[in-house]
Symmetry: C2
Subunit: 94 residues, 2 copies
């Protein structure tokens, strides 16, 4: 899966990400788009995916797969910190 078909969720306005997903499926003709996020942005990744599936591309895309993962590393204070991530794979259905 090419990174061109990924949308990384961050701090920008919510609709920017929804639009990215929609454009990849429509203008760019992608068969799959992966919505990716880490940490607190995971909730937003679910929101973006739901709005794309149930409103903007209703009946045209569906959920293919959801993957979760986490990485552990040391923060500045030397403490072990675990950060979770999610990848929501959406696919064209019609």
């Amino acid at each position: 899966m090419s990174d061109d078909n990924s949308v990384f969720i961050g701090n920008k306005p919510f609709m920017n990400y929804v639009t990215s997903v929609v454009v990849q499926f429509t203008t760019k003709g992608a068969k799959e788009v992966t919505v990716k996020a880490r940490g607190k942005f995971i909730s937003r990744a679910v929101d973006v995916s739901e709005v794309a599936m149930k409103r903007f591309l209703k009946g045209q895309i569906g959920l293919k797969e959801i993957r979760i993962d986490s990485e552990e590393f040391k923060n500045k204070e030397g403490q072990d910190v675990r950060v979770s991530s999610i990848e929501i794979v959406l696919e064209k259905t019609a």
Copy 2:
């Protein structure tokens, strides 16, 4: 799947939820536990699941399925609001 095997993620201290998951698998002998959350708590549900799988019950439980959904309703100002939810199903593997 009985609600006894569900853990709803909210505002309580993080380890309360991890402990709930661990106790259901160990003391209560559950074969499956579903970690559920809505809105901003979705990120936390992923964190709880990851910590249970990779730290406390490493090698003993795994990810079975992840479901996402959303509901639309009107808020106090009469605007349509969509709230996402997640259900992460963990299962005993050993």
